[in-house]
């Protein structure tokens, strides 16, 4: 375990699927050769295929202290990046319509807003995903080159590009499939939790740009930080697939959706529009307790009381949502 641990909480009730975080990340980090298909941050519709396709059913992670097998996703699972023939249409006077090439067959956010059906009602929600900067990273254990390390000062997991040889054991080991291989450089890459920004006291680009204000960032071990309060004090944020054993440091406030049509007033646990089984699949059985707690907070507010939890989740300003303290995590020399 690292001396400190940066963490992020995302309130899924507030995510509008606008992909501003995705673009903020892409413009900053993956606008280079070989990185077209890389989305260190992506937002996927759930239930859905995800990115890469069916990543949640491929494998990886830990079981009984041992790494679990997994195939390597192929480019078909990511979708081959396509370009449009603007030059021919606009500059060379060809009359053909503007068309993408190669023909798109899959891509990031491919099944946006499709979701699922619960009896006769459609349901879906958005799941933004970055690297979980796990406490026990399977990728780190899988790398025979010792190219992956977890920064002792802040718990951020990074790939040393000088040591990486592109063996891709890490991609197989990661149960969240959040590492990408760059064939141009022959090395693998992943989310760096914007550590160069954090070191200057700036919050992650995805969190800074989020119009829904759903991201909270700080040190998990800092009692002043919003992530500490949401995860450890109020206990209303859960990691994704906790049973995969890596102990993620990205947490989600589960979607607190309304009950089904014509059942207003009922508890989500009584008649959920979003099948509870699916939330349990994503966040583990503790999600029921979290929803119960959230429901109690909502009731308190609806009855005219003040809910500190809801006030925190509203996150009106950056000071509430972000607690970046570079001086706390300086490397001691």
């Amino acid at each position: 375990m690292s001396r400190h641990q940066y963490a992020m909480v995302m309130d899924l009730n507030k995510c509008l699927g606008c992909q501003t975080c995705t673009i903020a990340c892409k413009k900053l980090w993956t606008d280079r050769d070989g990185t077209g298909y890389m989305y260190w941050n992506n937002v996927e519709t759930r239930p859905g295929l995800g990115y890469p396709r069916q990543w949640d059913r491929i494998g990886g992670g830990w079981k009984d202290g041992a790494l679990q097998p997994s195939p390597l996703p192929t480019m078909d699972d990511y979708g081959h990046p396509w370009e449009y023939n603007y030059e021919q249409r606009l500059y060379e006077g060809k009359k053909q319509p503007v068309m993408p090439s190669p023909e798109p067959k899959f891509g990031v956010n491919w099944d946006e807003d499709v979701g699922g059906m619960n009896e006769d009602e459609n349901y879906f929600f958005y799941l933004p995903r970055i690297c979980n900067h796990c406490t026990y990273p399977a990728c780190l254990e899988a790398c025979p080159r010792k190219a992956i390390y977890k920064r002792d000062e802040d718990g951020i997991v990074v790939i040393d590009q000088d040591r990486c040889q592109g063996y891709r054991y890490c991609i197989k080991a990661c149960p969240y499939k959040k590492i990408y291989f760059n064939e141009v450089t022959g090395k693998s890459e992943k989310c760096i939790f914007c550590y160069p920004r954090l070191e200057k006291g700036e919050v992650n680009a995805c969190a800074a740009q989020c119009p829904g204000r759903l991201r909270f960032v700080g040190l998990l071990d800092d009692p002043e930080s919003p992530v500490h309060r949401l995860v450890l004090v109020h206990k209303i944020a859960l990691p994704l697939f906790p049973e995969r054993g890596t102990q993620p440091n990205v947490f989600y406030v589960p979607p607190f959706n309304p009950p089904k049509r014509e059942n207003y007033g009922k508890s989500i646990l009584e008649d959920p529009r979003l099948p509870l089984d699916y939330l349990v699949y994503l966040f583990g059985p503790d999600v029921k307790n979290v929803i119960t707690r959230l429901e109690a907070e909502l009731k308190k507010a609806q009855e005219g009381g003040r809910s500190e939890v809801l006030q925190l989740l509203i996150g009106r300003d950056a000071e509430t949502r972000f607690h970046i303290r570079p001086q706390l995590v300086q490397i001691q020399t």
Binding site: G36, Y37, T74, M75, P144
Partner: protein
């Protein structure tokens, strides 16, 4: 990871006489590899010298397949049982040709990356595939050349006896690496002259090394891309001693 590593050590040790199986090292009663003195130039041998190479005595060096290194590795089979080695000393260089049968040529030409920085270009070079691995081969020599009582560890040398690895990759070319034990291999950033020809289901790869004195041990490795070889997932020989 401890169990597979132990299995690896035991497997490598099992290749050697029981008396030295306690350590990773081996006494120098090795396998001889003759070095031919030839009149052809290094450049001829490197670029177009198959006729000359054919006049040089060939030694068939047996290749071993590493056992699965990780619990999660898929099982694998021995598809390449040996490599034909020819060694010639030419004007201060040692030229080594490795030839082996491989029905699949796992090599591609990657798209050229323009000189201009990506941020000023509208189009970027794209990753075409993320699950392909390429054929490769390597010659490992001690960083301190010469005869010795004890060889470096076959697993990329050791702290006392580091190694240099002349690594050739069918797609990414030749690069010189250094190592002092398993997991320590690093690129030096330097290349070295190498040439490869794939024809009729066979690789012929020529490595140009600096000259090495008689008695220096050398070892060889082959990676088969179609078997998803990379890292320690490969074929390897035991040390051969230059005569």
């Amino acid at each position: 990871m401890r169990t597979p590593r132990l299995a690896m050590i035991l497997f490598v040790c099992s290749l050697f006489p029981a008396s030295v199986a306690q350590t990773e090292k081996k006494s120098s009663a090795g396998q001889a590899l003759s070095v031919a003195a030839v009149s052809a130039t290094a450049d001829t041998l490197l670029r177009e010298g198959q006729a000359q190479w054919n006049q040089i005595a060939v030694k068939r060096v047996a290749l071993n397949r590493t056992p699965p290194l990780f619990d999660t590795d898929e099982p694998t089979t021995l598809e390449i049982s040996g490599v034909d080695v020819r060694v010639a000393r030419v004007s201060g260089n040692l030229l080594v040709q490795l030839s082996w049968r491989d029905p699949t040529q796992d090599a591609v030409t990657l798209a050229a990356v323009p000189d201009s920085p990506p941020e000023i270009r509208f189009r970027k070079v794209q990753t075409e595939a993320n699950d392909r691995f390429f054929d490769a081969a390597a010659v490992m020599v001690p960083a301190k050349p010469g005869a010795r009582a004890v060889y470096p560890s076959l697993q990329m040398g050791d702290a006392d006896d580091p190694v240099e690895i002349y690594y050739w990759n069918a797609t990414r070319g030749a690069m010189l690496m250094q190592a002092q034990g398993r997991g320590t291999t690093k690129r030096t950033g330097q290349g070295f002259p190498a040439n490869s020809v794939y024809a009729n289901g066979q690789w012929n790869v020529v490595f140009e090394l600096p000259d090495l004195p008689t008695g220096t041990p050398v070892a060889f490795a082959v990676w088969n891309g179609s078997q998803k070889d990379r890292d320690g997932r490969k074929y390897f020989s035991v040390w051969q001693v230059l005569e």
